[in-house]
Amino acid sequence: MSGARLEVDVTKRLGDSVEIAAAFESGPGVTALFGRSGAGKTSLVQMIAGLLRPDRGRIAVGGRVLVDRAAGIDLPAHKRRVGCVFQDARLFPHMTVRRNLLYARWAGGRRGALGLAAVCDLLDLADLLDRRPGALSGGEVQRVAIGRALLADPALLLMDEPLANLDGPRKAEILPFLERLKEEAGVPIVYVSHAMEEVIRLADTMVLIDRGRVAAVGPVEDVTSRLDLRPLTGRYEAGAVVAARVEAHDEAYALTRLSIAEGRELLVPRLRRPVGTTLRIRLRARDVTLTLAAPEGASTLNILPGVVRELAPAEGPFVDVLVDAGAPIWARVTRLSVDRLGLAPGLAVHAVVKAGAIDRASLGRAQ
């Protein structure tokens, strides 16, 4: 089922002023539904799960129709095989972790390819089996919730802000498990979030939701690099997402060499990733400066030749400049600099990237 594609085209009126009208398709891997709170992400997830009925439209997973109002099809939630991991986990408090994990088996009659042992192994749950949810930490609770959904043999796994209730250290504890899940579980995942670093780290495809509508769909790198979408994606610190490959480590200087495009390389502080790994990295716009000529005698290690593609005003005196340096890179410069350098689309420039520019929290593994 790893190739299952999700097709969504629904409308739903919620109250007087809110309407969701969203259409998108996503392939295998992780699809992020990204948007600010109240954008309608959770309602979309509920419609996919069968907990909310769309007024109009159709949802299918791997060609299997879950709901099609025009055709009069509306599978109840328990027949959809859509696993859910909720923000608030929703473990059954009166059952042990084991009973919770196996709930789909004894109460739902589901039998999947993944067994209890494999799921315990994947999520490191073996020591928790006989505990009760009340005695678990927030991170453990979410791991159990993920395991419980996996054991329901889902054709699609929905994760509705699974990390939103956790503090920083707990998030860091769960993220590696989510990365393993993505690689090993073989289930397409829809990941709802309003935290860009999670999206960059986990998602392949990004569906940008704004006021109930799909503002953009595409690979994470593309959607996050578009300057016109910045009001929606740029609530966090502005920056571009770039796919990179670990080429070599330099132990003597504690640096790692990454290639981001043919012949374009970056030296960054040593990353604990094996050579050959493909990563997704985010370069903060404020850590990139532009020069017309290649600087000489500078301390900066990373100087990438490129061409200015687009300029967009940012807050205050700043302008964000999109530079094509083999990969799209953002630079945040002042308006004064734009005028002095005569920055305009088509102009050849050099992007100077600080070695520490990589947003380490956002390191994701690209597929």
Binding site: A49, G50, L51, P76, A77, H78, K79, R80, R81, V82, G83, C84, F86, D88, R90, F92, P93, H94, Y103, A104, A107, G108, G109, R110, R132, P133, G134, A135, R148, A149, A152
Partner: protein, 234 residues
């Protein structure tokens, strides 16, 4: 036990217990269904059903008993039909006392269960559905454990009510020793005889003790079930 309870007292006590137990056993499934309807389903006439359920709580018990007699007596519309179709007679039988106790205890059960259903965390039920559980399975595995404290409280209150029921019972099924003379009716009867006061006091003590026991038991059971549901103990 027989040393300090006369056979007559024992008989009244056993009958009361039997009547109360059966009234709960028969009333509980209906109370669950009605509480569910009132808490979860929007239907026309909901407030009418709600009023009807609570009627025995506000009517004088004698009136309830008289209405039961009119309805379920051998000449009543329902009672007559029951007798003709199934040969079942309720009036002046211990089974009739069960009906009277069940009707009187019914609002107590429905109230307690309905409150607990309204307090159920619907998100848990949603989670169970996404895991493949159908409606009845979700109810049995997720909803019922959550409302168990309310169900226990309702059942024990109704049991206590059934033990001591007097007005509706004596009106509907009269005062027949060994058949319908329950604890309260026995106390009443003894007070009617000049020498019965001592016996009445003994029975009163028993009644008080039983009622206290029921209340304490309900409190303990409900607390335990509550703790279980919160995942605090096994």
């Amino acid at each position: 036990m027989t040393d300090w309870l006369t056979p007559l007292e024992l008989e009244a006590l056993a009958l009361s217990a039997r009547v109360a137990l059966w009234s709960v056993v028969c009333g509980l499934p209906v109370a669950l269904a009605v509480a569910w309807l009132l808490a979860r389903v929007e239907f026309p006439g909901r407030s009418l059903v709600n009023g009807l359920v609570h009627l025995p709580l506000v009517l004088p018990p004698v009136v309830t008993g008289y209405l039961l007699l009119l309805l379920l007596g051998t000449k009543g519309p329902v009672g007559g039909w029951l007798q003709e179709a199934f040969g079942i007679t309720l009036a002046f039988r211990w089974t009739g006392a069960v009906v009277a106790a069940a009707v009187m205890g019914f609002p107590l059960m429905v109230r307690a269960i309905r409150l607990s259903i309204e307090g159920v965390d619907g998100r848990m039920e949603q989670a169970a559905r996404t895991l493949g559980a159908s409606g009845p399975v979700v109810f049995a595995t997720v909803t019922l454990p959550q409302i168990l404290p309310g169900v226990i409280v309702g059942a024990i209150l109704a049991f206590a009510k059934g033990l001591g029921e007097f007005g509706a019972t004596i009106t509907f099924v009269s005062n027949i020793p060994g058949e319908t003379r329950t604890l309260s009716i026995a106390i009443y009867s003894m007070l009617q005889t000049p020498t019965g006061e001592a016996a009445a006091i003994r029975l009163t003590v028993i009644a008080v003790a039983l009622s206290m026991l029921a209340l304490v038991a309900s409190e303990l059971l409900a607390r335990r079930a509550g703790r279980r549901v919160k995942g605090l103990e096994g």
